[in-house]
């Protein structure tokens, strides 16, 4: 359970999530400080630790479009927020799953700032408005990676299996 701490619209690109000028910073331990760096207010809230883990960022369609930069997923993973969007661009979605960032595709999501959201199975409940929304299943192909705890762990098991 968590609150919607940030509400953004359509086509939020990875240039917005993690501006290009910080791309020389690559380590997942160092990228979180630059999440949404061009929105000074929200970025300050993150860095001042005013956003509790488990909070939701609610977006509309095509979240994470554009550049394949993985920092856009790792910077959000670092704050342990959950992304809920009407629809998520392919590379960002895959990066999120590979790194273990929580993402929910919820085509009909309707939530305002401050609304309390709760995931239960394949349903997202907006406790504030009382409405419920269906969560779309992730691509079947990615489930094995989620189950393994991310792509690094999954690749390790695959390498060991190939070896034996």
């Amino acid at each position: 359970m968590g609150k919607v701490v940030y509400k953004i619209g359509d086509d939020v690109s990875t240039d917005i999530i993690y501006p290009g000028r910080f791309m020389a910073t690559v380590l997942p331990t160092e990228t979180p400080q630059f999440a949404f760096a061009d929105d000074k207010e929200f970025n300050a809230k993150l860095n001042n630790k005013e956003i509790p883990a488990g909070s939701f960022i609610a977006a509309d369609k095509n979240f994470g479009c554009g550049s394949s930069r993985e920092q856009a997923a790792s910077c959000l993973k670092g704050w342990e927020v959950t992304i809920v969007a009407k629809h998520i661009a392919r590379i960002f979605l895959q990066n999120s799953i590979n790194l273990g960032l929580n993402v929910l595709i919820c085509p009909d999501i309707d939530a305002d700032m401050g609304d309390e959201l709760e995931v239960s199975g394949d349903v997202l409940k907006n406790k504030t408005s009382g409405k419920e929304f269906k969560i779309a299943p992730l691509p079947a192909a990615r489930q094995a990676i989620i189950d393994a705890g991310g792509l690094i762990a999954y690749t390790r098991t695959r390498l060991m299996a190939d070896k034996s």
Binding site: I16, G66, R90, T155
Partner: protein, 430 residues
Amino acid sequence: MGMTYVQKVIAKACGKKSVAVGDVVEPSVNLAMSHENGALAMTQFQEIYREIDLEAKIWDPDRIAIIFDHRVPAESAKTATNQKKLRAFVGEQGISKFHDIRGDEGGICHQILPENGYVRPGEVVVGTDSHTTSHGALGAFAFGIGATEMAAVWALGKVLNVEVPGTIKVEVNGNFQKNVGPKDLILHLIGKISSEGANFKVLEFHGETIRSMSTSGRLVICNMSVEAGATAGIVPPDDETIRYLREVAGVTDELDIFSPDDDAVYEKVVEVDASSLMQQIACPHTVDNIKNIDEVVGTRIDQIVVGSCTNGRLDDIETAAKFLKGKKVNKKTRMLVFPATWRIYREALKLGYLGDIIDAGAVVCNPGCGPCLGVHQGALGDNEVALATTNRNFKGRMGNPGAEVYLCSPAVAAASAITGVITIPAQEGN
């Protein structure tokens, strides 16, 4: 049931007779490309091996390409250090397709690959860059992945858990009007199907307009397919593909040329009449915010940019030079030109194009991503407006979230440089 082109490529890469849309497969990779962000792939690659008792060796160092292009020459100590670490890694692993910051072989990854014959029809190409879709122009299934996914490819030589994508057929017929071309076509298509219209799908290009288009033009449309959300854009290979590979890329070995089946099943067919198109402009701040040029004519422009992996090839530089020859870049604007690779730079120099461009008052930058990203070159000032032949106009793209970027073809950019406002090139009487 017949297969689309991408189904055939994937089936081949999996050693199967056929695959169906939605099948979960693990295609082997023919080429895996990274640029500076290979530094992150390298860290993740080492992380994979940290806990297991295996030597951290890339599966096939001849199938990895590393090209420094995003920040060349390095703009900061941090970038220079990333490049240094990658250089060492390239040496340790014996990676052969490495293009450093050099005038004899450097440039933007998406032009280096085709130019050097690294991509062939029927292959699977992955890159840690969203515009890896470019290489569909040569009939490869080429798509962008993240750095961690690349680390897994380096380890295993295949892409794990891929769903076979559905295909949208794009049928383009008719001759372009004067000073209208591939860039206008792809901008029009993105506007028509929207920035998410092809998410998780492949755009397969057909029709007489595509058949008579040069590889340079095909690279433009495949490059920007990702701006409609597409996993890949593909032009099934033909005589022009073979010509390019033999004459330009110097490929001498046998090529595997095939076509989609006649009874292939497409999710949708989109038809475009190229002859009815006028110049297209993508307006701030999304690539699908497309307008006919006449709706934005007269918009004041602070910076004109010609270059990038989308439109930094020799024919693009030639167009700019032809418009600018004997004229001047308007004093109310400024113009930057960056050829995609040093090979193009050298040819443009020889043909006198760069001289014409400089004499007109434009600045020629070194090949690389430079102004496209606006990280270390060509950033915009607050409230400034740019008109660029690049591929993205997202807020903040050219280094300033308080600026605006319009996207266009080289002809529109060059014609507008002379007037300082968005201008229809036909009226320039080129």
